[in-house]
């Protein structure tokens, strides 16, 4: 009698053991988000902007113009022997702007390219100044390098949210469908095991990983990129906890009926891929058209990412993120309730 474990504890321990003995699972939960953050972090690290390539059609004052453009260091001038050659370079994207002397100066560029519009202003500014233009008001520049406004700062909370979604839905979904497929689930249902214990153990084991997962990603961000955590750590922990709960519930729902891994996989992709794209992981979800915003903002990952960024980057308080958290919780509770209702135990 004394050797008997509490069944919920035994089930939770079983899940944890299963997980840590699965090297692939460990990779996807811990190594993958770090590798992703590392690659993207370096790709978008802080550095001076690349000089914009600008073409000059050979003419009487080519050398003078090229000298003027080389001075500020933000423009990379190249000379083309004829207008046709210049157009060719412009059309293929080798240069953002083509300068032609035709009476005064004639700028050829594509207005929809942001770097071309910048080049137009900078080139004109450089040439006019070199030719003696004086500005009526003196102006100076002071460059800002604030931690918290870089791309990596935007990205890291997104990756945290993405990981909470991935491990919640994959972790719980695959484990349940697998148990159903191999009939281990049926075998357990044939014992006096309480079904609620089985489902709770899935959630509890998730929370153990959650703590490790969030800690690893956050520490990585703080140590490698000095990503700030401006809000309260407690609120951040609460936010990730609710996120994990919500996606755990969605994982249960996705796995509640599926009889094959293929079916489960399809459902998981159906749930996750739209959020990968729409929910502001890699770029702000505000970039999508206004008409789509109500839908996008009501997705659980959008709400979770918004909450994580608000707490980490802007130092917001609970009341400020309560709306986001409510969206996250509603998704979780509804998914969990539906999953319980329709769960296929055999």
């Amino acid at each position: 009698m004394s050797e008997r474990q509490q069944p919920l504890a035994a089930l939770t321990k079983t899940r944890l053991l299963e997980f840590v003995r699965e090297p692939e699972a460990l990779f996807w939960v811990f190594a993958f988000p770090i590798i992703m953050a590392l690659v993207l972090g370096f790709a978008f690290r802080d550095r001076p902007p690349d000089p914009v390539p600008v073409g000059i059609v050979a003419g009487p004052s080519t050398d003078e113009i090229a000298r003027a453009l080389a001075r500020p260091g933000t423009i990379k001038p190249a000379t083309y022997p004829s207008l046709a050659d210049g157009f060719e370079a412009l059309r293929t994207g080798k240069i953002a702007l083509l300068v032609e002397e035709s009476g005064g100066l004639l700028y050829h560029f594509d207005r929809t390219r942001p770097d071309a519009r910048i080049a137009r202003l900078e080139v004109d500014d450089a040439i006019q100044r070199a030719r003696g233009r004086s500005d009526p008001t003196p102006a100076r520049e002071e460059l800002v390098h604030e931690k918290g406004s870089r791309y990596i700062d935007f990205l890291l909370p997104g990756i945290l949210g993405l990981n909470l979604m991935g491990t919640g839905i994959w972790g719980i979904g695959f484990s349940i469908v697998n148990a159903r497929l191999k009939k281990t689930l049926k075998l357990m249902v044939a014992t006096p095991m309480r079904k609620s214990h089985y489902l709770l153990a899935q959630m509890f084991s998730r929370f153990v990983f959650l703590i490790l997962e969030v800690a690893v990603i956050l520490l990585f961000g703080i140590l490698a990129f000095q990503v700030p955590v401006r809000g309260s750590l407690t609120l951040l922990v609460l936010t990730t906890f609710l996120g994990a709960l919500s996606f755990g519930g969605m994982g249960l729902l996705v796995a509640s009926r599926a009889k094959t891994l293929e079916a489960a996989n399809g459902l998981m992709n159906l749930v996750m891929v739209p959020m990968w794209l729409l929910s502001g992981v890699f770029f702000s979800s505000e970039r999508f058209p206004k008409a789509a915003q109500p839908l996008i903002q009501s997705l659980p990952l959008t709400a979770l990412n918004n909450a994580l960024r608000a707490v980490m980057l802007e130092g917001r308080t609970f009341t400020a993120v309560a709306g986001f958290l409510a969206v996250v919780v509603v998704w979780g509770v509804v998914s969990f309730a539906v999953a319980l209702k329709i769960f296929r135990w055999q």
Binding site: E3, Q5, T14, L17, A179, L187
Partner: protein, 309 residues
């Protein structure tokens, strides 16, 4: 026999899957303390029947009483009192034998310790081995050990030795016999007649979802009236007309180019057979005899073989 001394009673069990009548009006009584076998070919409805009795499948019609209780009203109590080993269920491969047993032990309020279970099923040496690394026989013993974790009064075994080598099969039979010797009840399904003959006090022969014969293996075989089987081959082959003239021969059938004749008395039938073959000009290539088995019972009842196709 009344319902209280019966471990299992079911009446008029029916279960249809689409057009297939998996169980088609099945009645059964298993007495407390006996080992009862459901014997039949694959697809006869044995697994559906046992899963209905185990409370895992709901019958379309019919009633089931297990240990005097019904699934609808006493599921938790029944789950505590019975043990189940399913066909083809796989235990989690990443867990060790000990971890698996303590997990299953945790589900029951009372039961046997993992140590005792490992001892009973000769798994002590595999205590810390992962389930994924076990042999087929060891896995099956572990599955039975899990079924015994709650020290059940009634044990259900669905095809317990299918796919096992003869030695593992023998080992498992010993364990089931020991469990029964302690006064417990066993219901098992099998398509191995040898298993049924060795282990079961009574068997029900199941075909097309119905019981077509019921009794002890010895009674069923005795019921054939021809407890011996003569198996022979000749060159050239002989036809049925010739064999029909032999006195004291019951069923006649052919298998793999040989004839199988059921005979009441070998002393009468064998000389008569040899005489007929002589007269017909056929040369005997092989001749052997064996006592009739449950397989012959099934053959004589259905005209079909009870073998793993």
């Amino acid at each position: 026999m009344n319902a209280t001394s019966a471990a299992i009673v079911c009446r008029g069990l029916k279960k249809h899957y689409d057009d297939v009548k998996a169980v088609d009006g099945l009645d059964l009584e298993v007495r407390a303390g006996e080992c009862f076998g459901l014997l039949g070919p694959n697809g006869a409805g044995k697994t559906t029947t046992i899963e209905i009795l185990e409370g895992l499948t709901r019958p379309d019609e019919g009633e089931v009483v297990i240990l005097g209780r019904r699934w609808g009203s006493h599921e938790r109590e029944l789950r505590e009192r019975i043990g189940i080993s399913l066909q083809e269920s796989r235990l989690t491969e990443k867990l060790t034998v000990y971890e698996t047993l303590s997990l299953f032990r945790s589900f029951y309020t009372r039961g046997r310790s993992p140590e005792k279970l490992m001892q009973d099923l000769s798994l002590e040496e595999k205590r810390d081995a992962r389930v994924g690394k076990l042999s087929g026989g060891q896995r099956q013993r572990l599955a039975v050990a899990c079924a015994l974790a709650g020290d059940p009064e009634l044990l259900f075994l669905d095809e317990p030795t299918t796919g096992l080598d003869p030695q593992s099969r023998l080992q498992l039979w010993e364990r089931v016999a020991a469990y029964k010797a302690a006064g417990r009840t066993v219901l098992l399904t099998t398509h191995y007649m040898e298993e049924a003959e060795r282990l079961c006090d009574r068997v029900a022969v199941v075909d097309h979802g119905r019981i077509i014969a019921l009794g002890s293996p010895a009674d069923l075989i005795a019921g054939l009236h021809a407890p011996h089987i003569i198996e022979f081959a000749t060159d050239p082959a002989v036809d049925d007309g010739l064999l029909a003239r032999i006195p004291g021969i019951g069923d006649r059938r052919q298998r793999d180019g040989r004839w199988l004749l059921a005979a009441g008395s070998l002393a009468e039938a064998v000389p008569a057979l040899l005489d007929e073959l002589d007269r017909g000009g056929a040369k005997l290539v092989s001749l052997s005899t064996h006592r009739a088995t449950l397989e012959d019972v099934f053959l004589s009842l259905t005209g079909r073989e009870l073998r793993d196709e």
